[in-house]
C-alpha cells in the first residue's frame, strides 16, 4: 500500500493553484457554511493538514437516488469532492473495479485504514429470512454491514432508506427492511434523511466532517442541526399565504396560479424537518412547493404510511383511503347523538314506570290512612 498521502493543500498546489486561491476557496466554502472569519481560517487549516480521508459507500436496498443526488452537488462540485477531498474507495455505482476486484478495494480500505475510514450507507438492510433479500458477492447486506461498520470511524446514513427504512419499510414491510441505526450499535451515526436528501446538504455534511474534523451538531434523531432543525413550513415562501388563510383549493385553480399555500392539497410541510425551503433543490432552482406540489414529507420517519399524500391528515387505519379523523369523528358523533336520543327515550319509559310505581305507593299509603 502506498502511504504517500499528500494533503488537500498539497493537491491544490500540485494542480497549479496558488496559496491565495486556496484561501479563497476555503473562504468561499466557509461563507457557504455560514462561518465567521475565524471559522474560515479553521477550514483552511483543516484542509491544509489532511490527506484525503478514505470513504466506503455501501449500497443495499435502495433506488440509488441518493448517489444520483450526491453527484448533482454544485458546491462543492462532486468531481472536486471525489478527486480532491475524499478518497471514494468503494461505491458500486461509480467504481471502475467489479467482482473480485471490487471486493479487493473494499478489503484494502478496511484493513489499511481500520478505524479511520468513514462509512456511508445508502439503502436499508433486510432482516427477515436471515437477510436473503439483499445479497452482494454471495453475502447478506446484514453481514456486510456488520463487518464494514466494525472498523469505521463514523457512519453516515444517507437518505430515508438508511435512516428510517423508506419505501421498502412501508407497510407491510415484506422484507423486514431496517435502517442502519436499527442494526448497528455503538458507532456514531449521522442520519441524513430525505428521499433523496438535497445534493448540497449531502455535500455539506461531507465538507463539515472534513473541514472541522468532527461530527456536525446532531439533534435527538442524529440529524445534522444545520439542515434539519426547521420545518419546511417555517422557511416556505408561501407561508404568508398560510397565515392569511389563502389556500389552493384544487390543483391548477386560480389560487394555484397565484402561488397560494398548498396546505389543503395535503402539504406535509408543517410536519417535515428539511432544508428545502432555504437551500432548495438543484442549486437553488426550486423545491416541490415552489413547483406546485405539496410536500410529501420525504425526510420524515414513516412518511410513506402517513398518506394519502393529498390529504392533510393520514387516513384512518382500517377505514379505507378516504377516512380521515374528521370523517370517523363525525360518524362517531352522529352515532353517539343517536345513542343518546335512544337513551333519552328509554329513560322516559323508565321514568313513567317509576311515576306509576310512585303513584301506586301514594295510593296505597293514602288508602292505609
Amino acid at each position: 500500500m502506498n502511504n504517500k498521502r499528500p494533503t488537500i493543500y498539497e493537491e491544490f498546489k500540485a494542480k497549479g493553484y496558488s496559496r491565495r486561491e486556496f484561501v479563497t476557496f476555503c473562504s468561499l466554502m466557509g461563507a457557504w457554511l455560514g462561518l465567521e472569519v475565524s471559522g474560515v481560517s479553521q477550514v483552511a487549516k483543516a484542509l491544509e493538514a489532511k490527506s484525503r480521508p478514505p470513504i466506503i459507500w455501501l449500497h443495499f436496498q435502495e433506488c440509488t437516488c441518493c448517489s444520483e443526488s450526491f453527484i448533482r452537488s454544485s458546491h462543492p462540485l462532486v468531481a472536486d469532492i471525489i478527486l480532491d477531498k475524499i478518497s471514494l474507495d468503494y461505491t458500486e455505482t461509480l467504481m471502475a473495479a467489479a467482482g473480485h476486484q471490487a471486493e479487493k478495494s473494499l478489503h484494502d480500505t478496511m484493513t489499511n485504514y481500520k478505524g479511520e475510514y468513514i462509512l456511508m450507507v445508502e439503502g436499508s438492510i433486510p432482516t427477515k429470512e436471515d437477510g436473503v433479500y439483499c445479497c452482494i458477492g454471495g453475502k447478506t447486506a446484514y453481514d456486510i454491514m456488520q463487518e464494514v461498520a466494525e472498523g469505521a470511524k463514523a457512519i453516515i446514513a444517507w437518505g430515508s432508506c438508511a435512516t428510517n427504512g423508506c419505501v421498502q419499510a412501508a407497510a407491510p414491510n415484506p422484507t423486514g427492511a431496517a435502517p442502519v441505526g436499527k442494526v448497528i450499535h455503538g458507532k456514531p451515526i449521522i442520519n441524513v434523511p430525505g428521499c433523496p436528501p438535497i445534493a448540497e446538504v449531502m455535500a455539506g455534511v461531507v465538507v463539515h466532517l472534513l473541514a472541522f474534523d468532527r461530527i456536525p451538531a446532531l439533534d435527538s434523531q442524529n440529524r445534522p442541526k444545520s439542515f434539519y432543525s426547521r420545518r419546511v413550513h417555517d422557511t416556505c415562501y408561501r407561508r404568508p399565504n398560510y397565515d392569511a388563510g389563502l389556500f389552493v383549493e384544487t390543483f391548477d385553480d386560480e389560487n394555484a396560479k397565484k402561488g397560494y399555500c398548498l396546505y389543503k392539497m395535503g402539504c406535509k410541510g408543517p410536519n417535515t424537518y428539511n432544508a428545502c425551503g432555504v437551500i432548495r433543490w438543484n442549486n437553488g432552482v426550486s423545491f416541490p412547493i415552489q413547483s406546485g406540489h405539496p410536500c410529501i414529507g420525504c425526510s420524515e420517519n414513516n412518511f410513506w404510511d402517513n398518506g394519502p399524500f393529498y390529504e392533510h391528515l393520514k387516513s384512518f387505519p382500517g377505514f379505507g383511503i378516504e377516512s380521515t379523523a374528521d370523517k370517523v369523528g363525525l360518524g362517531l358523533g352522529i352515532a353517539t347523538g343517536a345513542a343518546l336520543g335512544a337513551h333519552a327515550v328509554a329513560t322516559n319509559i323508565r321514568k313513567r314506570k317509576l311515576i306509576i310505581k310512585g303513584r301506586k305507593e301514594i295510593e296505597a299509603e293514602s288508602s292505609n290512612d
Binding site: 437516488c65 448517489s67 478527486l83 419505501v167 433523496p196 413547483s291 399524500f309
Partner: protein
C-alpha cells in the same frame, strides 16, 4: 473443460446484479443473470390510494427517476379514463427528454466508459495531440492544449497520491483496451465535464417537478401551474431557463457525447460490432405523444415488435390481450398459486416472495432451479430485447423518417452496415443516436408549449376525476412508457377506490431476467454467449456487453 466465473457485484450499474458464466475454449458458453436484491414494492402498493402510486413507484429507481412516476400516472389515468390537457402532455414530454439526456450521458461516461477507456493510459498522453484530435472531431470550445495539459497534471497528481479512489483495481492495462493515450485523456476530460453538465439538464425536472431526483407528478396532469403574470408559477423567467437548459443540452450532446461515441466506437468496431448481439426480437411500446396518449400513431417513438431481426415487418403490441404479455417465475424466487410453469398476465399478476436459493454466504447459485429475484416477462412466449436499440429498430421498421435518418447518418459516420447494430457496440451507439433525436425533440416540445401559452391555453390539470367519489367501484388500467432502458409498463386494478393489484413489468426485467419455463434465455444471458474472454481473472468483456444494456436492477426487481 468449462470454467465457471462469477462477477458479483457488477459495478457501474444501478443495483445488485450477479453474473455467472461458463467459459470453454476462451469463450462464454453459458450465462446466468441474477438480481440479488428485492424490496416487494408490488406488495407495498396494495390498498393504497391510486393517486399516490406514482410516488411509491418512482422510488423503484433514482437513476431512471421519473419514468415510473410517468408510467404510474398514465396507468391510473387509463383506468379512470382521465384525459390530461395538452400542456401537461408537453411538460411530461419535456421531463422525459431531459431524463433521456441525463441518463444516457451519465451511462456513457460514468458507467460505461471505463470498459473502453483506460484512465491510467491517459497519463502518457500528449496534451497537444489530444487537443488536435478534440478539435478535429468537434467544435466544443474546451479543447486547447493548455486545458488538456492541466487535466493531465491533475490526473497525475491524483494517481501519485496513491489513493486511487474509484479508479482503484480497475482492469487498467488489459489487452482489450485499444484507445491511444490521447483519446483516453480526451475521454477522462469529458468524464469530468459530463459529471458537471448532467446536474444542469435535470433542472428541467426541478422547474416542473420541484426536485431531482424524484420530481413530483400528478394524476390528471402536472402539478405546476402556468401564469405568465405571476412570480409563483411558470412564467417567462422559468420558461427561459427551460429553453436554455435544452439548448445547452443539445450542444453538449452534439458536440461532446456523439462525437466521443463515434470516435471511440471507431477503435472497437472491428470486433465489438459483431459480439453481443444476443436475442433477435425487439420490442418498444413507443412514447412521446404529440396528439395525446391515446393516439399511438402520433408517438415520436413508435410502438411495435420486431421478430427475428426482420425490419420489414412490425407486430402489434396489445396490452389488453391476456396472451401477449405474461410473466413467469420458473427460475425466480417467487411462487404462483397455479404452479411454477404458469405465466400471468400483469392484471392477474402475483408477487409472493419465496427464496429457495443457497444459504448465504454462497459461492455459486443453483442455476438449475430458481436463481434470481427477477420475474421473466415474455411477449407471445418470446423473449424480447428492449432499450435504445429496440426503439431505433422498431422506429426503423415503422418507417419513422426521423429515426431512419439518424440511424443512417450514424452508421455512415461509423462506416458500418445495418447488421452492426445487432451487437454490443450497436446497443451503445443506438443510445447516443437516440439522444441526438431527443435533444431536438425537447426544443420542439418547448416551442409547442410556448405557442399554446401564447394562444392563452395555460391549463395543466384535469380536475374531473380527482375526487374518488367520481370513480367506478372497479377499474383496471395500464400505463406504457419508454424508459431510457426500454419498454416499461405498469398495471393496476382498482377496487373500492384502493389499489387491489399493482404490477410493474420493467425494461431491465425483460433484458436481465432468468430463463423461462421453455428454457429460453433473456437478453443479457443470450448476448453473453460466444463472447471471447481474454483473461478469466479480469473479465472486462462481460462488463462491456452487460453495460451496453445499462442495467438497472432495482428497476428490474422492485
Amino acid at each position: 473443460m468449462a470454467n465457471r466465473i462469477v462477477v458479483d457485484p457488477i459495478t457501474r450499474i444501478e443495483g445488485h446484479l450477479r453474473v455467472e458464466v461458463e467459459i470453454k475454449d476462451g469463450k462464454i458458453v453459458d450465462a446466468y443473470s441474477s438480481g440479488t436484491m428485492v424490496r416487494g414494492l408490488e406488495l407495498i402498493l396494495k390498498d393504497r390510494d391510486p393517486r399516490d402510486a406514482w410516488a411509491f413507484t418512482e422510488r423503484v429507481c433514482g437513476v431512471c427517476t421519473t419514468v415510473h412516476a410517468l408510467a404510474s400516472v398514465r396507468t391510473v389515468e387509463n383506468a379512470l379514463g382521465i384525459v390530461i390537457p395538452p400542456n401537461a402532455e408537453l411538460i411530461r414530454n419535456l421531463m422525459f427528454a431531459a431524463q433521456y439526456m441525463q441518463d444516457h450521458v451519465v451511462h456513457f461516461y460514468h458507467l460505461h466508459a471505463f470498459d473502453w477507456v483506460d484512465v491510467i493510459s491517459a497519463l502518457n498522453a500528449d496534451p497537444a495531440e489530444t487537443s488536435k484530435i478534440a478539435q478535429s472531431i468537434s467544435k466544443w470550445p474546451k479543447s486547447s492544449p493548455g486545458y488538456f495539459s492541466d487535466l493531465k497534471k491533475r490526473l497525475t497528481s491524483f494517481v501519485d497520491s496513491g489513493q486511487l479512489g474509484i479508479f482503484a483495481n480497475g482492469y487498467w492495462g488489459h489487452k482489450a483496451y485499444k484507445l491511444p493515450p490521447e483519446v483516453n485523456l480526451l475521454a477522462v476530460a469529458h468524464y469530468l465535464e459530463a459529471l458537471e453538465w448532467q446536474k444542469e439538464i435535470v433542472k428541467v425536472h426541478t422547474i416542473f417537478g420541484g426536485k431531482n431526483p424524484h420530481p413530483n407528478y400528478l394524476v390528471g396532469g402536472v402539478p405546476c401551474s402556468i401564469n405568465i403574470d405571476d412570480s409563483n408559477a411558470l412564467n417567462a423567467e422559468r420558461l427561459a431557463l427551460v429553453q436554455k437548459l435544452f439548448e445547452d443540452a443539445k450542444t453538449f450532446v452534439e458536440q461532446v457525447y456523439v462525437p466521443d461515441l463515434i470516435a471511440i466506437a471507431g477503435f472497437y468496431k472491428s470486433d465489438w460490432a459483431a459480439i453481443g448481439g444476443g436475442l433477435e426480437n425487439y420490442m418498444a411500446y413507443g412514447d412521446l405523444p404529440t396528439n395525446g396518449i391515446n393516439d399511438i400513431s402520433s408517438f415520436k417513438f413508435p410502438r411495435g415488435v420486431v421478430v427475428g431481426r426482420n425490419l420489414n415487418e412490425l407486430h402489434e403490441v396489445d396490452g389488453g390481450d391476456p396472451d401477449q404479455i405474461k410473466e413467469y417465475i420458473k427460475h425466480s424466487w417467487y411462487e404462483y398459486s397455479d404452479g411454477d410453469d404458469a405465466g400471468h398476465h400483469p392484471w392477474e399478476g402475483e408477487t409472493n416472495l419465496n427464496y429457495t436459493g443457497p444459504k448465504p454466504p454462497y459461492d455459486q447459485l443453483n442455476v438449475e432451479e430458481k436463481y434470481s429475484w427477477m420475474k421473466t416477462p415474455r411477449w407471445k412466449g418470446l423473449p424480447m430485447e428492449v432499450g435504445p436499440l429496440a426503439r431505433l429498430l422498431v422506429g426503423y421498421a415503422a418507417g419513422s423518417e426521423e429515426i431512419k435518418e439518424v440511424v443512417t447518418e450514424g452508421l455512415g459516420a461509423l462506416g458500418a452496415p445495418v447488421g452492426a447494430l445487432f451487437s454490443t457496440l450497436g446497443r451503445t451507439a443506438a443510445r447516443g443516436l437516440e439522444t441526438k433525436l431527443v435533444a431536438n425533440w425537447g426544443l420542439e416540445f418547448f416551442n409547442q408549449l410556448m405557442a399554446n401559452i401564447k394562444n392563452g391555453n395555460t391549463s395543466t390539470f384535469n380536475n374531473e376525476k380527482w375526487d374518488p367519489n367520481t370513480w367506478p367501484e372497479e377499474a383496471k388500467g395500464v400505463g406504457f412508457t419508454e424508459a431510457p432502458r426500454g419498454a416499461l409498463s405498469h398495471w393496476i386494478k382498482i377496487k373500492n377506490k384502493k389499489i387491489d393489484n399493482y404490477q410493474l413489468v420493467v425494461p431491465s426485467t425483460w433484458n436481465a431476467s432468468p430463463r423461462d419455463p421453455n428454457n429460453q434465455m433473456s437478453a443479457y444471458e443470450s448476448s453473453l454467449i460466444g463472447t471471447p474472454i481474454e483473461d478469466p481473472e479480469n473479465p472486462l468483456e462481460i462488463l462491456r456487453t452487460i453495460h451496453s444494456f445499462d442495467p438497472c436492477i432495482s428497476c428490474a426487481v422492485h
